[in-house]
Each structure stands twice: as structure tokens, then as C-alpha cells.
């Protein structure tokens, strides 16, 4: 198995948010700030790493008839643990992400990767897949948060998630009067994702065309 291919696929060709349209609920709901975007992304990466590893570990012992319930139990347990850890060590982030932390359980990406990859591959590859998919997801929601926070509040900043009084950086780019408030709201969320998807579509078809032309030239 080409490990690099597996890793890159999760970020580009099989990007969960922008190409496969999985995990859209958090992508729309919490992307109002970069703090949220990166926080949620990291949470999902950690959950994915854990669930893919565990399920890959036991993949040969799970009786086929009960594999989905077993996967669900494991995923729910991992998310519950992450939820408790976040409430303890990153309380601000935990409050702003709110219900979407426990909702990671039903994020289609997690069960999807467990079923499609981790149940059929060894641990190392499963972890690479988890990392790739997780980063792809994080990329998608980071783009969303970046646009929405920039256009909606005019400010770009990042806080330390363990101690929210520490600010890593803050750029006030657009003055308050010119801020397009709607980006902080549902309408803006749908709009941003819609346009992002359109841009990705345009890029993918341009790349495909380029590759097809190269093939023709090579003949």
C-alpha cells in the first residue's frame, strides 16, 4: 500500500468536507472563528486516530454480524473520553463547540473510515488514513472559518486553547463598519460552503482537463 497516496488522498481527492460532503454539520455550524475551526479539526483528528487504530487492531476478531454495533460502541466511547478531556482542559473551546463535540460520534467521517478502511487494513496504514482524512477535514473547516471570521467580524485571531487568555495572534483587517455581518449567520455559512465547493469543482475539472491533455500529447 502506497502510504503517501493514502495520506494525500484524504487531503485532496477524497477530502471529506469538500469532495465527499461528509461532516458538513460541524463545517457549517462552528466555523465562526479560527479557534473553533482548529479546535474541532484537532478533536476530529485525535478521535479518528484512536478509532481507526482500535478498530484496525481488533479487525480480525470482530464477528461480522455485530461489527457495526461494535464500531459504534468504540466510537461513542472514544468521543465521550475526548469530551470529558476537553471539558477539563480546554473549557472555553468546549463551551463554544458545545453540542458538536458529542456529535462527533455521528460524524459520518468516523464511521465511514472505520468501515471502509480500518476494518480492512493494518494499524499503520489505518493511522495514516486517519491522519490524512483528519487533516483534510481540518483544511476544509479552516478555510470556512477563515473566510467567515474575516468577512463576518473583520478580525483574525487565535487563542491558546488551554488558556483562552493567551492570544497567539490578532489581526484587525477589516474595520467594523465594513464588516459583512451575514457571514456569522446561517445564510453566510451556506453561502461560504457553496462557493468553496464551486471553487474546488472548478479546480478539480481544470486539473482533470490538464491531465487528459497531457495523456493525449503523450500518445
Amino acid at each position: 500500500m502506497d502510504k503517501k497516496k493514502v495520506f494525500i488522498a484524504g487531503i485532496t481527492k477524497e477530502n471529506p468536507v469538500l469532495m465527499m460532503f461528509l461532516g458538513m454539520c460541524p463545517a457549517l455550524a462552528i466555523t465562526t472563528s479560527i479557534d473553533n475551526g482548529i479546535g474541532m479539526g484537532l478533536a476530529v483528528i485525535i478521535v479518528l486516530l484512536l478509532t481507526n487504530s482500535i478498530i484496525s487492531l481488533i479487525r480480525n476478531t470482530v464477528p461480522n454480524e455485530i461489527r457495526i454495533p461494535v464500531y459504534i460502541i468504540i466510537i461513542a466511547a472514544v468521543v465521550s473520553i475526548i469530551e470529558m478531556l476537553m471539558q477539563a482542559y480546554t473549557p472555553q473551546l468546549s463551551t463554544s463547540l458545545g453540542i458538536f463535540i458529542p456529535l462527533i460520534v455521528v460524524n459520518c467521517i468516523i464511521l465511514g473510515r472505520a468501515e471502509a478502511f480500518a476494518s480492512k487494513n493494518n494499524i499503520l496504514n489505518s493511522m495514516i488514513d486517519a491522519l490524512g482524512m483528519g487533516l483534510g477535514f481540518t483544511l476544509g473547516i479552516f478555510l470556512m472559518s477563515f473566510v467567515r471570521q474575516l468577512l463576518g467580524t473583520g478580525v483574525l485571531n487565535l487563542h491558546n486553547m488551554f488558556d483562552s487568555s493567551v492570544v497567539f495572534f490578532q489581526f484587525n483587517i477589516i474595520p467594523k463598519d465594513f464588516v459583512i455581518d451575514i457571514f456569522t449567520q446561517p445564510t453566510g455559512a451556506f453561502l461560504t460552503l457553496g462557493f468553496l465547493v464551486a471553487i474546488v469543482n472548478a479546480i478539480t475539472s481544470a486539473v482533470k482537463k490538464h491531465q487528459a491533455n497531457k495523456k493525449v500529447e503523450a500518445k
Binding site: 460532503f21 455550524a29 461513542a76 456529535l103 453561502l191 457553496g194 475539472s205
Partner: protein
Amino acid sequence: MELFGFAISFILVKNIVLTQFLGICPFLGVSKDSKNALGMGLAVIFVIFMSGIVTYGIYHLVLIPLEIPYMRLLTFILVIASLVQFVEMVLKRFIPSLYSALGIYLPLITTNCAVLGVALANIDQGFNFTQTLVYSLSVPIGYLIAIYLFSTIRERLELSDIPTPFKGNSIALIMAALMALAFTGFAGIA
């Protein structure tokens, strides 16, 4: 009367899809055909209403007395998965046409954020039993309205000339943006 205002606010003002962003995946996936959207909406009403009640009961009658509230995710998701399995079996037996029309989207109701979302919200917002009943019923009704309206728009969209990059989910999302905007008009009602 107060419960009615309660219900209206969750159906329209705080519509689960257009304001809370729960249930997006099937919202985009099933809404290409209005008949399927209707079927999906009705199935979701049943699942959310039943799971809302059962999970509420389990939380307050089992988890809290045993002092294991942290088991809620595990137990809730197992309840939901079982309920969906049950609905699948019933539909397969009694309405096979709907069963095959919904296809993969039927078992995917288990991972519909709206279902688990409602179960968790009933607890987090501290509802009593009556409020839980109303919430668990009005939220999916709002979902049905949103998904049905959306599907009728999308059916029209199929016949329009759309620039290539926007085809598919992109234009659907932009349409959803306009719907969300329209729904903010309800803000004054309740």
C-alpha cells in the same frame, strides 16, 4: 398555549436545518426528489420523536440514579441505532417502495446529527417531560418542512442552466443560504 409558542419557535424560528445546522447530509442527499424527501421527513419524525422520549427516560431513570451520566453518548447512540433498525424492518415489510427509494439514506438516519442532537438537547436544555415531547415532535416537523420545500426547489433547479462549477451540491448550498435567509423572516413570530 405556551407550549404552542414553544413548538412554533422550534419549527420555524429555530429551524433545525436552517439555523442549527443539524441534519445537513440527508438534507442535501435526499432532497433531489420531493417524494423521497417527504418519505425521509416522515421517517425522521418518527425516529426523533421516539428516540427523544426513550433517551430522556434512560437518562433520568437509569443514568442519573446510577450516577453515570457520562455513559449517555454510548446509550443514546445504541438506542437510536436500534430504533432505525426497527424502522428499516417495518418499512421493508410494509412499504417496500419507500424502503428501496430511500436506499442507503435509511440506515444513515442513525448518523443524522439531528437525531442525536435532539436527544442531547433535551438533556442540556433541562427540559421536563412535556417540553421534551413538544421539542422532539416540533423539531422533526420543522425538518420535514425544510427538506420538502428544498426538494421542490431542487427539482426546478435540475431544469435550469447552471454554470458547471456550481452544479450539484454547490448550487444546492447556495439555495439553502437563500432559504435560511427567508426563514429569518420568522424571527418575530414567536
